[in-house]
């Protein structure tokens, strides 16, 4: 088996809600509430789930860009939450992030060269000349022109800006890149280009991706394994083909049945979920999916199901 690059163990992030001056009870939004998974060297783990289920919070806490409430995140066996500031800074070279919105993730007052070369400068990895050469090389590698390094982000199109974001993530030669919906804000034709670029780069540099998305077809295309998240918890995790062909959790089944098929003659059963996503301030007791699950039984209201391996590394959190 390949080496484990990242191990996430019972990670929780709760945000305190300010309820006002006269309220004594302190409420909490349980953005992520105890998730565990591993990431093997060189693989892509797709993380899917609907809006507000905690995908982006996961991305930030896994990199300690946001402090987790409890839990462990081990990168190559080292718990990043136990590192000193200095050690963490050194480790940051190994793990990078690509954001969803290339507009917001590039400083409008920095030139592209400065944006991409920032990490190299912070870590003092190169002289000015070699930094510039490296930036130009990266620009070429992600499909931009090297002479554009003095331009500002607003002079690029959305797809080009995302390429800049990718080049920035690559600059420090990381092993892990967390991709937080990297193509959701782009046109479909551009999405394909960016995804293919990311796959090429993965092969070339042996990158490991934690790929967050809500487009299930996309996740199927890029991932080796897929994790499904619902209301701050993982409900299912398995190899890609396993999860798409043999979904065990009713939520996964509902998600998969919602994938549009580009053929109007295909008839299939659609599982329509009733009701709204419950509030993460007050998640339902028992299984947190029971309020919308088509197969709810008594035990679901009482007991929270454990996240269990059902063989062949197929993990499911369901009583049935």
């Amino acid at each position: 088996m390949e080496m484990c690059l990242l191990e996430v163990e019972n990670l929780k992030k709760h945000f305190a809600v300010d309820k006002g001056l006269f309220s004594s009870s302190q409420q909490k939004v349980k953005a992520i509430d105890g998730i565990s998974f591993t990431l093997r060297q060189g693989e892509t783990l797709g993380l899917v789930g609907e809006s507000g289920c905690g995908k982006s919070t996961t991305a930030l806490t896994v990199l300690r860009l946001l402090e987790a409430t409890t839990g462990e995140v081990k990168f190559k066996g080292q718990d990043i939450y136990k590192l000193t500031k200095k050690e963490l800074k050194a480790l940051r070279k190994e793990m990078q992030i690509i954001f969803q919105d290339p507009d917001a993730s590039l400083n409008p007052r920095q030139t592209v060269g400065d944006i991409i070369g920032e990490g190299l400068k912070i870590h003092n990895l190169a002289s000015k000349e070699t930094r510039e050469a490296k930036v130009k090389e990266l620009l070429n590698r992600v499909g931009l022109k090297s002479e554009q390094f003095l331009n500002y982000p607003h002079e690029f199109s959305g797809g080009q800006r995302q390429r800049i974001g990718i080049a920035r993530a690559l600059a420090l030669e990381p092993e892990l890149i967390v991709c937080d919906e990297p193509v959701s804000s782009l046109d479909v034709s551009i999405q394909a280009q960016i995804i293919n670029l990311m796959l090429d780069l993965q092969k070339e540099f042996g990158l490991t991706y934690l790929f967050i998305a809500h487009n299930l077809n996309l996740v199927r295309y890029v991932s080796h394994r897929v994790a499904v998240m619902y209301l701050g918890k993982l409900v299912e995790l398995a190899a890609k083909e396993e999860i798409y062909n043999n979904p065990q959790h009713p939520y996964t089944r509902a998600l998969l049945s919602a994938i549009p098929i580009a053929d109007p003659t295909v008839d299939r059963e659609k599982i329509i979920l009733e009701g709204e996503l419950p509030s993460p301030i007050n998640p339902p007791l028992g299984c947190n999916f029971h309020t919308r699950c088509p197969e709810t039984r008594e035990i679901c209201r009482q007991e929270e199901p454990n996240f269990i391996n059902r063989g062949a590394e197929h993990w499911v959190a369901c009583h049935f």
Binding site: L65, K89, F99, E118, I122, L150, L172
Partner: protein
């Protein structure tokens, strides 16, 4: 190869320079007038010692209340001093005092506002408490009290204005910093290992500098007006220093006899304040981040 690269950089630098000028050329005509008036005042202020026809504080009681004429372009005052010369020297007093007040306010408020906005928490609560308390007093009245307590002099007036003036900026800067620090590029920088100081210097300050400049320009007029106002009340520059507020006050008893004593300093104040205001408006239009592209 290397040479080719060098030429390319030179070309790009030239483009950047051109961009700056094209930036400036987008300024509208009205603001350009403001800019010209300000430059006019500044040049006259700098060259005042060479331009003045007469000594601005030399008293000549034989030539009191002369109406504007060929020798005394703006007439003479109750002590026979040349109003035109005093007016030119007044530019130096007003502009330099206002500028110092502005610089002090800017430095203090950028430091305080950025610290509060960036670090948040207890520091922020403390700072905002102080700011809110100070803002509860009308600024000019507070400046009046401080200047009164310290005793009337131009230096004390500057202290009084600076002490009351940084507060408003600090609050605005704090707000800007708070919104910028939530941007994803701050997270991206932290993911690269950037420390707080790096983030503040590289990512936050460059993004607040242009709105702050606009604010400062708009405010310059207000500060000049405050200085003249407080000097008019006798709390700032003291006679015989040539200062517009002092000149206005000195001319007040003779308003009907010699209206030029108040007309010219009044016009000078009016013009420079107006110029700063319209320039500020124009700068606001070109620095609006939505138009940068």
């Amino acid at each position: 190869m290397l040479r080719k690269g060098g030429i390319k950089i030179a070309v790009q630098k030239k483009q950047l320079k051109n961009k700056f000028f094209s930036y400036l050329s987008t300024i509208d005509k009205l603001s350009l007038i403001g800019l010209v008036i300000i430059l006019f005042f500044i040049i006259f202020g700098i060259l005042a010692p060479f331009l003045v026809p007469n000594d601005p504080i030399e008293i000549d009681l034989t030539q009191r209340f002369l109406a504007p004429n060929g020798e005394f372009l703006m007439g003479t005052d109750h002590l026979g001093r040349d109003v035109f010369s005093r007016l030119l020297y007044g530019i130096r007093t007003s502009l330099s005092t206002a500028f110092l007040v502005l610089i002090f306010s800017m430095v203090v408020s950028v430091i305080v506002g950025t610290t509060a906005g960036y670090f948040g928490g207890k520091i922020d609560q403390l700072v905002i408490g102080v700011i809110d308390t100070l803002l509860a007093f009308p600024g000019l009245v507070l400046a009046l009290v401080i200047a009164g307590l310290l005793g009337p002099s131009l230096i004390n007036l500057m202290i009084a204005l600076a002490v009351t003036h940084w507060v408003g900026y600090a609050r605005i800067i704090r707000g800007m910093v708070m919104s910028i620090k939530e941007q994803e590029y701050i997270l991206a920088a932290r993911a690269c290992g950037a420390g707080d100081l790096h983030i503040i210097l590289v990512h936050i300050l460059p993004n607040i500098i242009s709105p702050v400049l606009v604010l400062a320009t708009l405010d310059m007029g207000y500060i000049i007006l405050s200085i003249s106002g407080l000097s008019f009340l006798g709390l700032g520059a003291q006679p015989p220093t040539p200062e517009w507020g002092v000149m206005l006050n000195a001319g007040r008893p003779y308003m009907q006899l010699a209206p030029w004593l108040m007309f010219f300093p009044g016009m000078a104040i009016f013009l420079i304040v107006l110029a700063f205001n319209i320039l500020g408006d124009g700068l606001r239009d070109i620095f609006d981040p939505r138009d940068v592209a």
